[in-house]
């Protein structure tokens, strides 16, 4: 089999993650779905690094991870704040940004 | 380069504005006095400009020229001809009186406790000075781009003056008043912005055509007119007409010319009387002035092409404004519509393209400024006493406040341009100038003077005469010293210029000659010219040399 399949898989996961982001209301779950998408992206990077035989892809993936980690930290903190202030983790409750 | 008098004249109020705005919250009266002194000093400088200006000399004097934005050939170029000089003088003259009349206008919006952030009084007077600075500089600007920037920039302070410090005397209660106010302010802003944007397009267009005709693009009025004079700068007819329309539209909004006038009654009605004077007597004059200087100066052929339409519109403005003034129930709106009618006269005079018409129009700008100031300020004093703008709420004021009524009447008579008062001179010149080229238009416009009498006297009759029926009216006090000090000089000026307008015509005439030569027009010659001989050159023919037997 060709390692491209990994990329197919990644595409699939990415899509699922995307749908999750769109349909779930619980901010934390939404977050998880974002993580899923990031991971899918990582998988493609890794697969491509193998296909092209150089490590830049992996390094990219590495950076993605780090950034993702940072993002998770901050994001979760925000969720906690949100929860404290409005006692709900639903993204729909935070819908004040409108005219 | 000699002492930059014009720049200083324009800069002084600007600096004064900043200083006034910086006055601490607790020191309200200090801010007022500061503003007053600054504007008076500006007046002194403006007088200096008039003195330094030599009517016989070059077309533009006291010129300064520095490069500003090299890439677009924009220069900081200022200079005055006779017209600009007198208009600068007018501006500098009116503002102190406006400030004096507005002495307490900002107090109503003052917060109960002095507040570092919200200092209405300081802001109010600072804005007024800012407007003055911009107007003066825009009169002096001989660089189209510089003028454009000022033309637009003066909207900002005006917007806040109208919207922020409006007339509290509103029939429909406080918050309804606030709604009306903001409506008026926004309307004012939008109208003028639209005009300005169209003008901006024309300005860019001007740059383009100059850059491919003269090598590098320029906005310098003198440069362009000179180039035109020596044939180095010819415009394609259609392009010239488009550019003309672009400029004219903006000025017609500002002036305002029918049917672009509807912002004026709201703006003047909702703002306090002094601000209303600032609008109609000072800021709007920039529009008519710009027609005279830029439309005619830059695009003479197009101006001639547009003349029939413009004259028609001007006539409509004259009659329409007058008729609507007759129909108004609200004093300030009435005066606003009267102003529309008067602007019609000014534009008529400008586009009649005769020297009488144009000097008439220039004088009209000045005299209309003074007369409207007198009338509107007195009306403002009256309104502030009674707390209502509706004519129907008055009646018999003359009995309780004779001096107020007297000044009001004189202002009104000036507005209907009674001979002996200044506006008569300008109006008559405009009419003569128009008649000598377009007799029909002249006659139609003349019918406007009857309507003027109608609306002024109707207002006077309904407010001032008759028995005193309403208790609020009985309680109206007569003019106070401050108010008299504001109005009396204006009236004195009206009378002085009515008797001796020569002092202004001597300054204005040469400039008008230049404009006439710009548009390559000559005054129409009389059919049977008589040499202007004096009386004693004639002896009455008497065939019966009868002595008398008394």
């Amino acid at each position: 089999m060709s390692p491209v399949n990994y990329v197919y898989l990644a595409a699939l996961l990415f899509t699922i993650g995307a749908v999750g982001v769109l349909i779930r209301r619980n901010a934390i779950v939404v977050f998880m779905c974002v993580e899923l998408m990031l991971n899918a992206a990582n998988l493609t990077l890794v697969a491509f690094s193998r296909i092209h035989g150089n490590l830049d892809g992996q390094i990219m993936a590495f950076f993605v991870m780090v950034v993702a980690a940072a993002e998770v930290v901050v994001g979760l903190a925000i969720i906690v704040m949100l929860y404290r202030s409005r006692h709900s983790a639903s993204v729909d409750d935070a819908s004040l940004m409108k005219l | 380069m000699s002492f930059p008098l014009l720049t200083v004249t324009a800069a002084l109020p600007a600096v004064g504005a900043i200083a006034t705005a910086a006055v601490p919250a607790a020191k309200k009266s200090a801010a007022k006095w500061l503003a007053l002194t600054v504007s008076t000093a500006t007046l002194a400088l403006a007088v200096a400009v008039l003195v330094r200006f030599d009517p016989g000399g070059a077309r533009y004097q006291l010129t300064e020229s520095r490069p500003w934005i090299k890439d677009f050939g924009v220069r900081y170029e200022v200079g005055v001809d006779g017209i600009a000089a007198v208009l600068i003088a007018l501006t500098a003259l009116l503002v102190p009186f406006i400030i004096g009349a507005a002495w307490h206008d900002a107090d109503e919006v003052e917060p109960s406790r002095p507040n570092r952030r919200w200092r209405p009084t300081q802001g109010f007077f600072a804005l007024m000075l800012a407007v003055e600075a911009m107007v003066i500089l825009s009169f002096a600007a001989t660089d189209v781009f510089l003028f454009y920037i000022l033309f637009e920039a003066m909207l900002i302070p005006m917007y806040f003056l109208i919207g922020g410090f409006g007339d509290r005397a509103h029939a429909a209660g406080e918050e309804e008043g606030a709604k009306q106010r903001s409506y008026a302010a926004v309307k004012f802003l939008l109208y003028n912005l639209v005009g300005g944007l169209i003008m901006l397009a024309a300005v860019v267009g001007l740059f383009v055509v100059t850059s491919d005709q003269l090598g590098e693009g320029t906005f310098s009025l003198q440069q362009i007119t000179e180039a035109r004079a020596d044939g180095g700068f010819q415009l394609d007819t259609n392009i010239e007409r488009l550019l003309f329309l672009g400029f004219f539209f903006a000025f017609a909004v500002k002036a305002p010319l029918w049917p672009l006038h509807t912002w004026l009654p709201n703006a003047m009605g909702e703002s306090t009387a002094p601000v209303a004077v600032l609008i109609t007597a000072v800021v709007d004059k920039v529009g008519t002035f710009a027609m005279l200087r830029f439309c005619l100066g830059l695009f003479p052929e197009a101006s001639e092409w547009a003349t029939p339409v413009v004259i028609a519109l001007a006539l409509v403005s004259i009659l329409y404004g007058a008729l609507l003034a007759v129909g108004q129930r609200d004093m300030k709106r009435l005066i606003a519509y009267a102003s529309i009618s008067h602007f019609g006269f000014i534009i008529l005079g400008i586009f009649a393209m005769t020297s009488q018409g144009q000097s008439g129009a220039t004088l009209y700008m000045v005299f209309h400024g003074v007369s409207t100031a007198a009338l509107m300020l007195v009306a403002g004093f009256l309104i502030s006493r009674r707390g209502s703008r509706l004519i129907a709420d008055y009646g018999g004021v003359q009995k309780v406040a004779p001096v107020l009524a007297g000044t009001f009447l004189i202002g009104g008579l000036a507005t209907l341009s009674l001979p002996g008062l200044a506006p008569f001179i300008s109006e008559f010149l405009v009419l003569v100038g128009t008649f000598s080229r377009y007799p029909v238009a002249g006659i139609v416009a003349t019918s406007g003077i009857v309507l003027a009498a109608l609306y002024v006297l109707l207002m006077y009759q309904r407010t001032m005469t008759g028995p005193v029926e309403k208790p609020e009216v009985r309680a109206i006090p007569d003019l106070r010293v401050r108010e008299l000090a504001v109005v009396a000089p204006l009236i004195a000026l009206l009378i002085f210029f009515g008797v001796y307008p020569k002092s202004l015509t001597d300054i204005v005439n040469p400039a008008v000659e230049h404009t006439m030569s710009d548009v390559q027009k000559k005054d129409p010659k009389p059919d049977h010219p008589v040499a202007d001989k004096r009386w004693f050159d004639y002896k009455p023919v008497d065939d019966h040399a009868g002595g008398d037997h008394k």
Partner: protein, 321 residues
């Protein structure tokens, strides 16, 4: 052991760089694990309870880690397990605990047409991606044998600290900032010093509310777990008896109907013994008896919300005082 085989294969293909296909073992593992990964992903998206989604996600991540290893990204594989499955997911779980473990959102959609749009977008995107890949037609691939010749980690390191050193440093800074930011965000500033017990007591007296300590949970209820509200004489559960946190999380249990019934009977008896029957009607049947246990949580959250509002009001009253 995949990694070993991969290593061997790569070392073997060191000379001819272009290989057309991977080992059958890898293929098999791909198909098996891939399916599981997809199932995990679906679980993440579809399960109602956040905790379950979290666990599914963890599973998917582990499998992805294995795939990294299979693709010769040994370092990344380990990092994936340590950082993601180890740290990040744990963080998620912590937050979940904070927010309420059993809190689960009902899957009924509130935004009109959102779900269908979402599906359309997602599937459309997926289809496009896959079709795009289909166009790509990559037949042969270069293994990492050459690149990983002297080990994957040293190779990465050599690049990371030479070519990408700046990015590396920046990312470090980013992490620090993120950490500080998170602490700042979550740290709640105390405006006033916390009230001493005495002060609280005095306040209660002044407010003249609940002078006695709050009633214990579970009174009259079937059993007295902390998340069971005590029952008032007329059989209505009282929110005062359970802790506010539980209320806010909506984790207060319902009291079964028979408990209520027993209360009614008990009270009836006492009433009879006192010969006062006119109380009878106020121990009526418990409100809406036909309640199935499934949406107990929803109900619970509901009551929790009311209680929350009650508390809100109380706080406001204090503020006004």
């Amino acid at each position: 052991m995949f990694s070993a085989s991969e290593a061997s294969s790569s070392s073997m293909d060191a000379l001819n760089l272009a290989v057309n296909s991977t080992s059958a073992a890898e293929a098999a593992s791909f198909w098996v694990l891939g399916t599981i990964a997809v199932i995990g992903a679906l679980g993440t998206v579809l399960l109602r309870k956040a905790v379950h989604s979290a666990l599914c996600l963890a599973g998917t991540m582990v499998i992805l880690a294995l795939f990294y290893l299979a693709n010769g990204a040994y370092f990344l594989g380990i990092v994936q397990i340590v950082v993601y499955t180890g740290a990040v997911m744990m963080l998620f779980l912590f937050v979940l605990m904070l927010v309420g473990v059993s809190a689960a959102d009902s899957l009924k959609e509130t935004l009109k047409g959102q779900r269908w749009l979402a599906l359309a977008c997602g599937l459309g995107l997926g289809a496009l991606l896959i079709s795009g890949l289909g166009q790509a037609s990559i037949t042969s691939f270069t293994g990492l044998g050459a690149a990983n010749a002297d080990g994957n980690v040293p190779a990465l390191a050599s690049q990371l600290f030479t070519k990408y050193v700046v990015a590396f440093e920046v990312v470090g800074a980013l992490l620090t900032v993120a950490a500080v930011g998170a602490t700042l965000l979550t740290h709640r500033e105390r405006i006033e010093k916390s009230k001493s017990q005495r002060e609280q007591a005095e306040e209660r007296v002044r407010a003249n509310k609940h002078l006695p300590p709050l009633p214990a949970p579970g009174v009259y209820a079937r059993h007295n777990a902390v998340d069971r509200p005590g029952l008032l004489p007329d059989g209505t559960p009282s929110d005062l008896t359970v802790s506010a946190t539980l209320l806010s999380r909506g984790q207060v249990r319902e009291v079964g109907p028979e408990a209520l019934h027993r209360v009614a009977v008990l009270e009836q008896r006492t009433a009879d013994s006192h010969g006062q029957t006119e109380h009878g009607r106020m121990y009526g049947e418990p409100h809406d008896p036909d309640r199935d246990v499934d949406d107990a949580d929803d109900e619970g959250r509901g009551s929790g919300r009311e209680a929350r509002e009650a508390r809100q009001d109380a706080r406001e009253e204090e503020a006004t005082k």
